[in-house]
Symmetry: C2
Subunit: 319 residues, 2 copies
C-alpha cells in the first residue's frame, strides 16, 4: 500500500500529479485539514507537502500526531516553525536552487518593466492613444540601466542569478548579506542601510524570516531617493507595505516591481491602483523547468524519508 502524503497548501493538481504515482495523496486544497479529513486518516499522515510561505506552526503540527516530515515545494520555508518541528523530531525539506534561474528572470522583468513603465506604455499603444498623437506617458525619458547602481539584498542562489543578469546590463552590482563572499566580483556593503545609501535600484532576494520582517521601511526607502526603485521577488513580509505605498504615492521613490505581497493572494488595493508599479502574482518560480526541478526535489525528499534515509534537501534549524 502506498504511503499517505498530505497536500497541506493549496497547490494546483498539475503541480502534484507527479507525486500521485508514488504516494496516496490526501489533498486538503488549502483548507483546514481537520475539516477535510477524519481524525483517524490524519493520524496516519507521516509526511506532508506544503508551499514554504503557508503558515505551519506548532498547533498545526499537533493536528497530525504521526507527522515526521514537512516537505516544502520551493525554496522558501518561512511559514514553517522550524523550532516547533525540531522539538517534535519532524524533518523539514525544501527545493533549493531549483527555481533560482526562473526567479532571477522575473526579477529582471520587474526591474526593466518598472523602469521603462511598461504598465502604462503597452496600454498607450493598445488604446490607439499613440496613433492619435496623444501625450505620451513618457514625456520625460526614464533613466537607463547601464551605469546604474543596483543593490541586491541577499546573496544566496537567487541573489547570484540576479547579480549575474544585472551585470550583463552594464550596471554596477552591490550587495549586502550576512556573509561576505570574497569569490564574487560584486561590491559588498557592510549593512542594509549602507546598501540603500549606495544604490538607487534595490532588489530584495533575501531569505525571509523573523529577522527580515519589515526591514524595508520608510527610512530605508528614503535612502533610495526619488530615482529609486524597489524590486521584490523574495517574500512580502520583508517590506513594510504601507510605507512602500506612501513612498510610491509621494514619489519619494520612482517605482516598484513586486512578485510577492505580505498577505497573498491579496495585494493591497492602494498598491494595485498605482501607475508606477508592476505587479505579478507570485510567478517567480512558475516555469515548466523549475516545476520539474522542484518536483524532483520533493520526490527525492519524500522517497528518502519513507526509506528511513536522510533528506537530500534538508532545512536545518539554525536558531
Amino acid at each position: 500500500m502506498p504511503d499517505k502524503v498530505l497536500i497541506y497548501s493549496r497547490l494546483p493538481r498539475s503541480m502534484t500529479q507527479r507525486f500521485a504515482a508514488h504516494f496516496d495523496l490526501l489533498d486538503a486544497v488549502g483548507k483546514p485539514v481537520e475539516e477535510m479529513f477524519a481524525a483517524d486518516e490524519l493520524a496516519q499522515v507521516r509526511a506532508l507537502i506544503t508551499a514554504g510561505g503557508t503558515p505551519l506552526r506548532a498547533a498545526d503540527m499537533d493536528k497530525l500526531p504521526a507527522l515526521k516530515a514537512i516537505i516544502c515545494y520551493g525554496t522558501g520555508y518561512d511559514g514553517v516553525d522550524l523550532k516547533a518541528a525540531a522539538a517534535r523530531n519532524i524533518v523539514v525539506g525544501n527545493s533549493p536552487g531549483a527555481n533560482a534561474s526562473s526567479v532571477g528572470d522575473v526579477a529582471m522583468m520587474l526591474l526593466l518593466a518598472t523602469m521603462r513603465r511598461l504598465p502604462v506604455v503597452d496600454p498607450y499603444v493598445r488604446s490607439g492613444d499613440w496613433a492619435a498623437a496623444k501625450p505620451s506617458p513618457l514625456m520625460k525619458p526614464p533613466m537607463g540601466l547601464a551605469g546604474r547602481k543596483v543593490g541586491i539584498y541577499g546573496m544566496g542562489e537567487i541573489g547570484r542569478k540576479i547579480a549575474a543578469r544585472v551585470a550583463a546590463f552594464e550596471a554596477e552590482v552591490g550587495y549586502f548579506s550576512r556573509t561576505r563572499y570574497d569569490d564574487l566580483p560584486y561590491r559588498y556593503l557592510p549593512s542594509l542601510d549602507a546598501l540603500a545609501e549606495w544604490c538607487s535600484v534595490f532588489v530584495i532576494a533575501v531569505r525571509a524570516g523573523t529577522d527580515t520582517n519589515h526591514v524595508v521601511n520608510a527610512d530605508l526607502l528614503a535612502k533610495l531617493g526619488a530615482d529609486g526603485y524597489v524590486i521584490n521577488i523574495s517574500r512580502g513580509s520583508v517590506i513594510d507595505e504601507p510605507a512602500l505605498v506612501a513612498a510610491l504615492k509621494s514619489h519619494a521613490i520612482a517605482g516598484a516591481g513586486l512578485d510577492v505581497y505580505e498577505t497573498e493572494p491579496h495585494a493591497p488595493s492602494e498598491l494595485t491602483k498605482l501607475p508606477n508599479v508592476v505587479l505579478t502574482p507570485h510567478i517567480g518560480g512558475n516555469t515548466q523547468e523549475s516545476h520539474v526541478a522542484m518536483q524532483a526535489c520533493v520526490l527525492a525528499n519524500l522517497t528518502a524519508f519513507f526509506a528511513g534515509e536522510k533528506l537530500p534537501y534538508e532545512v536545518r534549524c539554525t536558531s
Copy 2:
C-alpha cells in the same frame, strides 16, 4: 548669425532644445516643410535633423536646394534615400551605438514580459481576480529562458548588447548576420532560415533596408514553432505584419514583443487586441542617457559640417 538647421521629423522640443543654443532651428514639427516655411527660408537650409525612419526621398531633398547634410537623430537611417543624397553631394550622419544599451534593455524587457505574459498577469493582480482565486491566466506554466535557444538576427552594436544580456540568462545564443564574427562566443547560423530552424526565440536586431523588407514572413514564423517568440526592436518593415498577426492568432507561434511597427505610430488594430503580445511605442532608445549620447552625436556632426570638416559619424552609401 547662427546657421539655420531644419528639424525635419516630429521630434519633441525636449529632444531638440540642446541644439537651439548653437543653431537657428526651423522646426517643421513633422509637417510638409513647404507648408511650414517660405521658399526663401528653405533655400537657406544647408542641414537638417531627422529621425532615421522618416521618409526622406529625392523629391523631398529637392525642396531644399541648398541642403548638404542630413543628420539622423538615432542609429537608423532607413528612411533616407542614400543614393539620392550621394547624387546631390549631401552627406548623411547618424548616432551609432549611442542608444545600443538602452535598446538592448528594451529587447530583454519585451522578451521576458512576453514569455512570462506580463500584460495578462499584472491585470490579474490589479483587478482582484488573484485575491478572488479566479482561474489564473498562467494555468499552464510558461517555459523559462534558461536553456532556451535564442536567435539574434543582426550582430551590430545593438545585436551584441542583446547577445551579452541573453547569455547572462543561461540561454544559448545563435545569430545570423551578413558578417560572421569569429571573435564572438556565439553560434553562427549560415542563413536566416537556418537561424529560425535552430531557435525558438527570434530577436530582430538587423539594420533595416530594402534587403530586409518583410523577410520575417509566414514561412520563417512557421519554423519557430508553437513555442516560438518574435521580438523586434529594429524596424517594423522587417516583419510581414499580417503574417505575424495570423501566426499569433492561430498559435503557430506563442507570442511577440514589439517596439516597432510598419507604419508608426499606428500598430495594427488586429495586433493591439491580442493577449499574447507585448507592445511598446518605439521606446528602445528613449532613456535620459541615450538621448544625451544621441544629441552629442548630432551636435558633433552638425558642428563638423558647418566647419567644413568630415562628419565624425558619417553614413556611407554602400550600394
